[in-house]
């Protein structure tokens, strides 16, 4: 799966959780999920479940802790797909 395709899907999944909708306009790989998009940190659990469903993979809790930016999520998913 192409990185851009993963990026688009990640952003689509994040969208309903984003409190700062303006930040979505300029979203990039370096956009911080909590600080920039203002996603409630408790909801990351739900976002990860949706990543798992969307890409048919499993993300363990240690990996979740490495995700801060949209790019981190895209890279993690890309790596898991490759495994």
């Amino acid at each position: 799966m192409e990185k851009t395709e993963i990026f688009d899907r990640v952003v689509e999944i994040l969208t309903p959780y984003v409190k700062n909708q303006e930040a979505l306009n300029g979203v990039s790989l370096t956009t911080h999920i909590l600080d920039d998009l203002k996603v409630n940190s408790a909801r990351l659990v739900d976002v990860v479940l949706e990543f798992e469903d969307a890409f048919n993979l499993e993300i363990d809790d240690d990996d979740v802790d490495t995700v801060e930016t949209v790019g981190n999520a895209v890279e993690l998913i890309q790596a898991k797909i490759g495994q």
């Binding site: 969208t15 309903p16 959780y17 984003v18 409190k19 700062n20 203002k38 409630n40 408790a42 909801r43 990351l44 659990v45 739900d46 479940l49």
Partner: protein, 425 residues
């Protein structure tokens, strides 16, 4: 001196209408919101009818962000819509979700009888039993905690005073109003959003069906199924929704120059102790009478000043004893009983939300000078026959209506009585 407390805003989500204006029209017309419920049929219920507010999800989508909606079950949705409506009706703008200001002077007592049963049934139990706890995500706790309804509303409105959820079965919504009244009278809050909410879920209603207390005899005629005070009353019709009142100290309301809808003149809460005919499921009539009398005394309202009664009146075998208790508490002969009506005849029994929704009806009746009909009791119960002249089958025009008394009773033999008075200086 006791602080006077007034109502400055109303919000309602009910089976026969959503929003205060449509709800008033539905009440005046005697419109039933009871419909056939497919889930109950599929699940083997004896009763096939319920009162479900229409279009809650569409309404919620127009009120709340996607982020909020993801964490709201049906009870939360009813509570939040009615709460926001009561807030804006009281003249406040919805706060910016990103701003840090908190309204330290406004709180909420928002009750629920059963709570997030739909979430427990649809996700907590099946996912946990399947060993898939992780799949519950982050939203299960806030949906099943009893205080979820009040917590949800406080987040939306940035409420900073006491925010809590009470639970006293079918007396919940009325009790919440009595609790908010007390807090404002004590000077601990300027404003309290008070009432009750109950979600739409056949899982909530199943246990009542098993008890055989739901109406099974009018499955083919849903609008006729909720029949308080009728000879053919055959049990209550379960329903859902929310009714919330903005209670405010008179001082605060006058300082803001806001419109006053009615006064909450007094209240009483008690329990019959499950003695003297009372039990887990039936009220001790002495407890009921004491509660009504105590509320009138608290309001300093004489029995003869009562212009209308909005009873608990669910359409079970308890109705005749309740009507007798009203006459006893008001110390009047059957023929002198003020007009007595049951909002449940139109909306069914919304459990923890009932007292909230029915109190909204009381305020609307005082404001509009009418008593709404109690439908489906053309065949008055033989034991209620002596009071038949006091039961309105169509809306009564009562421009001089000044005092409406509302009672709510619940499992556990708990009682609440509220006295609403038309506003005047």
């Amino acid at each position: 001196m006791t602080r006077r407390v007034v109502v400055t805003g109303l919000g309602v989500v009910a089976p026969n209408a959503n929003g205060v204006r449509d709800f008033e029209l539905a009440l005046r017309k005697g419109r039933s919101g009871i419909r056939t419920n497919e889930k109950m049929i599929e699940s083997g219920f004896g009763s096939h009818v319920a009162g479900v507010p229409e279009g809650i999800d569409e309404l919620a989508e127009s009120y709340f962000s996607a982020d909020l909606l993801l964490a709201m079950n049906s009870g939360h949705r009813c509570a939040a819509i009615a709460g926001v409506d009561a807030w804006t009706d009281a003249g406040f703008a919805r706060p910016d979700p990103d701003a840090d200001e908190v309204d330290w002077d406004t709180g909420a007592v928002l009750g629920t009888g059963i709570g997030g049963m739909d979430t427990i049934a649809k996700s907590v139990v099946p996912l946990t039993d399947a060993g898939r706890v992780r799949r519950l995500g982050s939203v299960a706790v806030e949906q099943v905690m009893s205080s979820g309804v009040s917590a949800r509303l406080s987040g939306i409105l940035a409420l900073g005073n006491q925010v809590t959820t009470n639970s006293s079965a079918c007396s919940t919504g009325s009790e919440a109003i009595a609790m908010g009244l007390e807090r404002i009278r004590c000077g601990l809050a300027k404003r309290m959003l008070c009432g009750g909410a109950e979600g739409v879920s056949h899982y909530i209603w199943a246990g009542f069906d098993a008890m055989r207390v739901l109406c099974r005899r009018f499955n083919d005629a849903p609008e006729r199924a909720s029949r308080p005070m009728s000879a053919t009353a055959a049990g209550f019709v379960p329903s859902a929704g929310a009714g919330i009142l903005m209670l405010e100290s008179l001082e605060s309301a006058q300082d803001r120059g806001t419109r006053i809808l009615a006064e909450v003149a007094g209240s009483a809460i008690n329990c019959g102790g499950q003695r003297g005919g009372g039990s887990m499921t039936a009220p001790n009539s002495d407890g009921v009478r004491r509660c009504i009398k105590a509320a009138l005394a608290d309001a300093r309202v004489a029995p003869e000043e009562v212009g209308a009664i909005n009873g608990h009146l669910t359409a079970t075998s308890a109705d005749p004893r309740e009507v007798d208790s009203w006459a006893a508490a008001l110390e009047c002969s059957p023929s002198a009983l003020p007009p007595i009506t049951s909002t449940k005849s139109m909306i069914g029994h919304a459990l923890g939300a009932a007292g909230g929704i029915e109190s909204v009806a009381c305020v609307l009746m005082l404001q509009g000078g009418f008593v709404h009909p109690s439908i489906n009791c053309e065949d008055v119960h033989p034991e209620i026959e002596p009071y038949a002249a006091s039961i309105p089958h169509a809306a009564l025009q009562t421009p001089d209506l000044r005092v409406v008394v509302k009672a709510g009773f619940g499992f556990g033999d708990v009682n609440t009585c509220l006295v609403f008075r038309k506003w005047s200086e």
